[in-house]
Structures are given as C-alpha cells and as structure tokens.
C-alpha cells in the first residue's frame, strides 16, 4: 500500500498497461481477429490493438459474428485482407472475401451487368433514347442532390452557385459502404440517414462522388458491387431522377507515386469499374478529372494544397465541368 501512496500514477498506468496487453494477446484470434495490427506500421506494442479495436466498436466481449452496425447486408472485408501481396493476414480471410463477392454478384449485380454493358444499351432497347451531354445553366441544379465525401463538402462550401441551389448530403469520410445507413444528415430533430432522406423528397438529378476513403477496402469488383447496390436503392427511392456517377477525383502525382493505396492507378481501376454501372439512359457516368488534370492523368498540383482536395478557388473548375456535362431529357 505504501507503493500505491508513493507512486499511484505509475502503479495505475503500469497495471492497466499489463492488463490491456494480456487482453490484447488473449483475444488476438477471436474478438480482435479483424483488427489490423502490424501491417502498415511494421511493429507496434500489442496494447495498440485494444484501442484500435475500441475505436471500431470492437471489445473483447464482441462476438465474431455480430455484424457491424453500419452494414446492413454483408461485412466489409477489413482493409488489410483486401490488398494482394500482403501475406500477413490469416489464411481464412481471403476466402471469406471471395465468398462474399460471389454472394453479391449472384444476388443482384449479375443481372445488372448482363444488360448494362455500354454497347448493349442502344441495341437492346429500341425505345430507349440515347442522351448526350450538353451545356446547362445553374438553374439546372435547383432540383439536384449531391452525395459525397469531404470533396463534395468542399464543393458545397466554395461553390456558391451550387450551394444556393442544390441540396448537399455530404460528409467527411463518407464511403459507398456506409452512405445509405450512416446517420449523417441533420434534421430539425436529430439526424437521419440517406435512405430516409431520399424517401422524403424527390430530386431531378442525383450526383454521387464517393470512393476515395474506401480505396484501401476491398477490390474494384467489391467496390463496384457496393456501388451498384447504392444505385439500385436510389433508383428505387427516386424513380425519376437522373443519376450521375462521378468518377473519383485523382490525387496529385506527388501523392500517387508514393502511396500504396491513394494512387491514381487504384482510382482509375475503380472508375473503370463504376463506369460500367451507367446505362446512358437514366444513369450516367461523368469524370471531372479532365477539368483538373495535369496532362499526365494526375490532379494538377497547382490546384491543391494537400494533394487530395481542391483548393477553394479550384472548385470553380468542377462547377464548370458540371455545367458542360448535363443531361436534358
């Protein structure tokens, strides 16, 4: 007890550290099996795992099967497992991922991909008109909805013409996996999720740009399937809206050339995948990268400070691009 009186903090921190380390080891393969550790940072004290897990809502008493609250249908494969070439993860996990992928494609998107191939559209359905992108004016956006992550948040903050006309349901770190179920839209009495918001009001156009935050999660196919589900849901709730799938904006060369995940190769692969979801009838794919390109397929570094986001003064390029690429039916 004298020890506790002389150095209470030392004893407190010391014992807690030992207990947490023991917990970390004890639940390494059960509750914490999906918590990444030692993949990016080569070596870390075991204790870090407990805190990483806690921030993901995983505790020692969390059972393995319990789905994460943000996911309605299937589990997102944890980041580490998705990247090929990292032999660190358990053997079982890649199989799981593949199974899930198979499930999804079997369920829903197979049908879609069967008749949404770009050349199919015109041939298959004679009554379907093919539309072309034309110039529109700002009033085009009065019944538009923008869904996106921090980049779209920036568009709302620094493009007055759009912000005053369109609706923005955008949030920092939003992903295609959680955009439907996450309660991020403020209402008079609390918050609601996108699905709910889409039942309350009908929009003429819906613009989506998502995909940079989840670039380390899953592969293109997995991403595309999740994207496809979101599109289906929006279609169901908003039958008359024109849906614009916006290609993910690039990062700069400086970022792309050093980052294992956030690079333009990954972005292009995903853009190619989601471009296939367009039917050119009421779902269109547009890619604003041409408006901010440095000539080599990267984000022009004079338009950004942090290599990922446009500077406030650069959002006008995105706006201009949208003005030149509208669909009028």
């Amino acid at each position: 007890m004298k020890l506790l009186r002389d150095c209470p903090l030392l004893v407190g921190i010391g014992t807690t550290a030992i207990i947490l380390s023991v917990i970390s080891f004890a639940f390494k393969d059960t509750a914490y099996a999906d918590v990444g550790s030692g993949d990016e940072g080569p070596d870390e004290p075991a204790i870090a795992r407990v805190f990483k897990a806690a921030s993901m809502g995983i505790y020692p008493w969390t059972t393995g099967e319990e789905p994460d609250e943000s996911l309605s249908t299937e589990e997102i494969p944890p980041e580490e497992e998705s990247e090929p070439g990292d032999g660190a993860s358990n053997e079982s996990s890649p199989e799981e991922v593949q199974q899930e992928d198979a499930d999804i494609s079997g369920n829903s998107s197979f049908d879609l991909s069967g008749n949404d191939g770009t050349f199919d559209v015109s041939g298959n359905s004679a009554e379907d008109e093919v539309y072309e992108f034309t110039d529109v004016d700002d009033d085009y956006f009065t019944d538009a909805l923008f869904i996106g992550d921090s980049r779209t948040v920036g568009l709302s903050e620094y493009c007055e013409a759009l912000d005053t006309r369109a609706t923005f349901y955008a949030k920092v770190s939003l992903t295609i996996y959680d955009c439907m179920t996450k309660d991020f839209i403020k209402t008079d009495d609390g918050k609601m999720n996108l699905e709910e918001a889409l039942t309350k009001q009908q929009y003429g156009k819906i613009y989506i740009m998502l995909g940079i935050n989840e670039i380390g999660t899953g592969n293109e196919e997995y991403f595309k399937n999740a994207y496809s589900e979101v599109i289906d849901k929006i279609r169901e709730l908003q039958p008359d809206a024109i849906i614009y799938i916006q290609g993910i904006m690039h990062v700069t060369k400086a970022k792309s050339s050093v980052d294992k995940f956030f690079n333009n190769g990954n972005i292009d692969a995903r853009n190619a995948a989601i471009a296939e979801l367009a039917d050119n009838h009421d779902i269109f794919y547009i890619d604003m990268n041409e408006a901010v390109d440095d000539g080599e397929g990267n984000l022009d570094d004079s338009l950004t400070f942090d290599d990922v986001h446009l500077k406030a003064s650069s959002y006008e390029r995105w706006h201009e691009f949208l003005l030149h690429n509208g669909i009028i039916r």
Binding site: D6, E44, F262, S313
Partner: protein, 463 residues
C-alpha cells in the same frame, strides 16, 4: 521510436530502459545510460551513429587538453570544428538530401560547444571521466531536440554516483523509495507533456492543415487570424510538450528538472518572450554567442550589431530559406524598437501595454512567417490577415464558424494553458489525488489517440 510520443518508446523502450537502468549497480549506471542512448539513436538514425560517436570522442579529447593550463586557441579551434560540422551537415541536409542531416545534431553540437566553453572557464572540471562526458552528450532524453542541459546539471544526478550508497548508508528500502518517487514525478511531467503534444498540438496541426487545404487566397480574414493563433498554439504545445516529456524522462533517471518553457506568452516584451521560450536555447545563444561578442556592454552600436547577428544566426539555423531569415529579421526589428523606442521614450504603463500587445499579437504573426516557406503563399496569407488590398478568391465567410465549431475543444484548453497560473497550479498540486486520477485518464486518452493514428492511414486521413 525516436519520438517520445511513439507507442514503441512509451511501452517498450522506456520501461525496459528504466528497469535496466535501476537494476544496474549505481557505479555502472552511466554506462547503461550511454549504451541505451546509443541504441536509441541507432534505431532512429543508424547511419549517423559514427558522426555522433566521432564528435563525442573528439570533443572529449580536446576538453582533456584543457585540464592543465587553459588554451584559448585550443578552445577556438574545437568550437570551430564543432560549428563547421553543424554547418556542413545543415547544408548537406538542405541542398543534397534531408536524410543526411543527423537527428539531433544541433542539440548535441550545442551541448559540446557549451561543454568546451564551460571547461575553459572552469565552470566544470576538465578531467571528467569519458563515460560521463559521453553520456552527457548522448543521453537519449535530450538527444533529439534538447533541452540543452549544462554539464553542471548533469553532474547533479545522484542516481549515477555511488558515493551516496557508501557515505550515507542509505538503506535499500530508502533508496528504492527515492527511485519510486523520482519515477512518479517524472511520469507526471511526461504525461503532461504527452497530453500537450498528442491531444492539443497534433489536433491543432490538423486545423492548420485544413486551412492550407482551403488555400490561403480563399480564407476569410477571421479565419486567417484564427489560423495564426492555431499555428502559434500548435508550435507552443508541440515544443513545450516535447520539453516536458524530455524533462520527465530526465527526472525518472534522477536528473533535475530542466526548464525549457517558462510561460512565454505571459511576457511583457518580445525580448522577454525569447528569454522564456525555449529557455535552454536562448540562454545558450546568450552565454556562448551574445555575451562573448560583448553583449550589451560595448555600447549601443555594438549591442545593435550583436542582436542582429544573434537573430540572423537563429533564422539561418532553422533553415536556409527566405522566410526564416525574414522571421529572424522581423523579430530583431521588434526587439530593437522595444529596446530603443518603446521602453525608452514612452511612459511605463503604455510601454507595458505595447509589450504585451507585441507578445500576444505580433508574435503569432511572426509564427505565420515562420510557418509558410513559399513567399507567394506568405504574401497571400498576409493579404487575408489585412484585407486592405482587395478581396480573396471564393471566400466563404462562414468558414471560421465551421472550424470553431469543430476545434473549440482544443483551442480553448490551449488558450487557457497560456495563462501562467494554470500550469503552475498543477505543478504545485501535482501529487493531489484528483490530479492523479485526471492524469491517469489523460494518459490513456493519449494512447487511444496514438493507437488510432499510427500505422493506420485510413483512420488518420479522412477525406
């Protein structure tokens, strides 16, 4: 690991080292400290261990030559060698490759120069043992960014000497108690510093970065000022936090507390600010550059020149870049104005008011100069701070409200901690049970934050 706010340092190196240190019989503890420090350095910068070791040996040998009659030329020679080594590596690091700049070189070179000068002036004895001199130069709590402790303070460490055990007949129990008390006190300071660094500085850094993301040409004027405050606070808590962690580790090993930040924002003038900001560096400049050059004793013209030299050197030391030179010159200009105009001609009350104004308003503006290395961007930033010449591009006037609504929880504690009495109150009551409990939770809050920031880009970079 070379960073105190690194989980590997906190949970691996530090506890293992402390246990090893105290398990070593006190006669050999200096060796444990030296070897542990070299290991620490090798983990961070293996290639540059020879540079450190070479500098240690050369400086030890030169100091030994002063044990008989003091030779001024010998002192000048070794100080020049040290200074040249620093300049050379600084230039290599700046113009060739930043990895060529050895970690902590400024700080160990400063310690070496101070040691040589102190030996020459008989402030410390010239025949100190190699293990002591080497451990003093290399000790890991100060190796990376100071504080620049003096050798006389190093020698105050009772844990490193075996005299106490023999003479005092202190029982093993009593000794153990002394160690535990030192560990506890060091830990208290360490956690205080860790919280400043992790919970305040690192989060303020995110706000500063977000302001950059918007682009300086597009921030509202209130946000530009908030940015100046943010960056000033970030720098302060980053460095004060680091210094407290370093001091805390030092205390754990038996060294006296080294004061490096003495509530600078409570100062009544800019020159006082720099006596209380990074105290060990300031006093190093004073004792080993300013005073040897004559200080303020050789007339006003010479004082003026000496001040100019000190501030130019300070600017260059931060980097060979226009903004650092400008930063040094602006500070020089403010200090000269204070010294020769404000405090000389104005009534005392008004002078004091201006002095506080300079510290609280002009200092943050000088930090903006310090922060932005691109001169066009710097000009843009100042155009937004003082929007007399036209307006910005795509400015959203509500930006400051948005940032405040997110970051008030770090800005407010940061501002409160600027009041000198707040920290002093904690220092005086730091063993109180209420603070112990708060510190316990602060520590684990830091670890939570660190666990989720490190090695996990997806948690840290949210777009």
């Amino acid at each position: 690991m070379i960073n105190f706010s690194d989980l590997n340092f906190i949970f691996r190196f530090l506890p293992v080292f402390v246990i090893a240190f105290y398990l070593t019989p006190s006669r050999f503890r200096t060796w444990t400290l030296l070897l542990g420090s070299l290991l620490f350095y090798a983990v961070g910068d293996l290639r540059m261990v020879p540079a450190l070791a070479g500098a240690v040996i050369v400086n030890f040998l030169f100091a030994r030559t002063q044990s008989g009659e003091k030779s001024r030329s010998m002192l000048i020679f070794i100080v020049l060698i040290d200074a040249l080594m620093l300049v050379e590596f600084k230039i290599l690091g700046q113009y060739v490759d930043s990895s060529l700049l050895p970690v902590g070189i400024s700080f160990y070179i400063f310690k070496m120069i101070s040691y040589q000068a102190d030996v020459y002036r008989d402030r410390v004895k010239a025949d100190a043992a190699f293990k002591d001199v080497a451990a003093y130069f290399c000790m890991f709590p100060q190796l990376v960014s100071g504080p620049i402790m003096r050798f006389e303070d190093y020698e105050k460490n009772k844990m490193l000497t075996d005299t106490e055990g023999k003479a005092g007949h202190a029982s093993g129990r009593k000794k153990l108690r002394g160690i535990l008390v030192a560990l506890e006190d060091g830990l208290l300071y360490f956690v205080a510093g860790l919280a400043m660094k992790v919970l305040l500085a690192d989060h303020l850094a995110m706000l500063w970065k977000e302001i950059g993301t918007i682009g300086y040409e597009s921030i509202s004027t209130p946000l530009a000022w908030l940015g100046a405050v943010t960056y000033s606070l970030e720098l302060y808590f980053d460095f004060w936090g680091y210094s407290l962690m370093a001091a805390g580790v030092g205390i754990m090993l038996g060294f006296p507390f080294v004061l490096n930040f003495d509530h600078p924002y409570g100062s009544g003038s800019v020159s006082e600010f720099y006596r209380r900001w990074h105290v060990t560096l300031g006093s190093w400049f004073r004792d080993y550059i300013y005073i040897p050059m004559g200080g303020s004793r050789k007339g006003e013209g010479r004082t003026f020149l000496n001040l100019l030299v000190v501030w130019l050197v300070t600017g260059f030391w931060h980097g060979v870049n226009l903004n650092f030179i400008l930063w040094g010159l602006v500070l020089f200009a403010i200090i000269v104005c204070e010294k020769y105009l404000v405090f000389r001609f104005l009534p005392r009350k008004i002078g004091r008011f201006i002095g506080h104004f300079n510290v609280l308003v002009l200092i943050p503006l000088t930090w903006v100069i310090f922060a932005i290395s691109d001169r066009f961007m710097l000009a843009e930033y100042f155009a937004r701070l003082f929007p007399f010449f036209g307006t910005g591009i795509a400015v959203n006037d509500a930006d400051v409200i948005k940032k405040l609504s997110v970051y008030w929880s770090v800005l407010l504690p940061g501002l409160i901690l600027l009041i000198p009495g707040v920290f002093k109150f904690w220092e005086n009551h730091r063993r109180h049970v209420a603070f112990t409990i708060i510190w316990f939770f602060l520590f684990w809050a830091c670890i939570f934050s660190l666990s989720n920031a490190s090695g996990n880009p997806f948690m840290y970079f949210k777009f």
